[in-house]
Symmetry: C2
Amino acid sequence: MAWKFNDGAPIYLQIVNTLKRNIASGAYPPGSRLPSVRDLALEAGVNPNTMQRALSELERSGLVNSQRTAGRFITEDASALLDLRKSMSEEIVSEFIARLRGIGMSDEQILDTVRDKINSEHKEET
Amino acid sequence: MAWKFNDGAPIYLQIVNTLKRNIASGAYPPGSRLPSVRDLALEAGVNPNTMQRALSELERSGLVNSQRTAGRFITEDASALLDLRKSMSEEIVSEFIARLRGIGMSDEQILDTVRDKINSEHKEET
DNA sequence: CTTATTGTACTAGGTGATTAATACAATAAG
DNA sequence: CTTATTGTATTAATCACCTAGTACAATAAG
């Protein structure tokens, strides 16, 4: 089934984020082989060129490396993966706090909001 | 000085968000008059048409109303502003939690991360 | 060796976003 | 009344993104 592309941002950038997320979460383990460009494109429901472009971006960041005819592989570099995870959460948290402050919320309110949200979801155990 | 446009999302959508943020935070008080389309475009560093498009979007959501030649005004509807603030924070928090969960973080880790981030910033009082 | 698969490159076309340059009616301000 | 300002509409041109289709060299698999 095709992946979901929400905002108006370029699809290839959204794909990059999705792939990064899958790498950071371990869904694509270190050293594992990625599906081929064509298969990934089919899976995502986009043109192979678009997927190729997204993968080229990942290449530049060193998270994956391509071996001409054997396929693409996730880096074995454990520290790179730790860095990825850390930098991603850093960015996500910073952006989150900045956004809520931007609409006039205090730090206490921000923390409370997160706590409430998590707790309210845990209550929904029917 | 021109506004900052980060991601690859369409500028007019980013402008809509910026304006919503300014309304939600009270930077643009209820009933107050917005700068003209041309002035806002100049301030944001975009073409007047782009600003016009963003403002038309805001119009549809009922947050502002235009009076032909007198200018544009923020709605006086206090409840609409409360709703805006609430829905914006709802969306921001939901997206935030989903993102961190997406890279494999537990709810406890998420809460800790926010707490740490806020506390670490408070330490920086030279 | 033969063949299928892989990453990669290239051209072309369509679409939407953005800019540019005007133009106009309504009206607040003088 | 006259004038400047306002929101709004229109047309055209440019650019990035996306899709489509094709092609090629390298190599793993048979």
